[in-house]
Symmetry: C2
Subunit: 140 residues, 2 copies
């Protein structure tokens, strides 16, 4: 079973975002065990990430991928890390430089999304990455 | 008042996506009048777009932007087109080549999103583009 720890700032505020994320978390249930941790502020986010040996940071300046490339990238990350992976999403102000320095920066788009929409887009891409790896019809 | 016609295939199925889009359509109300038209299939989408003199197509292979660039691009498009703009989002299979040939291809990300999530991400970026143009604090 693959494991994914998602760390961000602030609860998922909007009901529609919460429902959207849950839709994909449910679909991922049989392949990825997801633990979502929402820090109360940037200081707590920093504290939590400092305990992580390795993490990916969502940042518009990070490496961009096609969905096929992202699938390959994720699978290799999980393989290299004993099936465990941590991803960090900043708050409304983005991620602090100290935090970014220790992480691997990846980007969902050169566009800036709200940190809440980032969660939804990311989780759908993780589901898509798994389906691409399985060779299913979800991603044609 | 700026006008935007959004053309896509299929109703917005998920309630959470519908609610998310409505959130931004509501916020845009005072600056952009949005008309969303969901075709029943690709043939009807083709029929509708053939009536348009000019349109933007959402396609992963299109031009990519930062949110600031997208704001400038959109404002110039509206300016050049008498404040009217049409955007086309394909169905699950993407857009037909004949349709893409006549349009200007723009991309939200090199990643592939579901056509339903594309609607949400696009509408938030349009709201962001307007706020950037106004110089508001939404996009810092």
């Amino acid at each position: 079973m693959l494991k994914l720890k998602l760390i961000g700032v602030g609860k998922t505020k909007e009901k529609w975002l919460h429902d959207g994320m849950n839709e994909y978390i449910k679909r991922l249930k049989s392949s990825v065990q997801i633990e979502a941790m929402w820090a109360k502020d940037d200081a707590q986010l920093m504290e939590w990430t400092q305990k992580e040996n390795h993490y990916l940071c969502m940042d518009p300046s990070g490496q961009t991928f096609t969905s096929e490339e992202f699938s390959l990238f994720l699978m290799r990350q999980w393989e290299a890390r004993g099936s465990r992976l941590t991803m960090v999403i900043g708050g409304a102000e983005g991620l602090k430089p100290e935090l970014k320095q220790r992480g691997v920066l990846i980007s969902l788009s050169p566009l800036t999304f709200t940190h809440q929409i980032t969660r939804l887009v990311l989780i759908e891409q993780i589901y898509r990455a798994i389906e691409i790896d399985k060779g299913s019809l979800y991603h044609k």
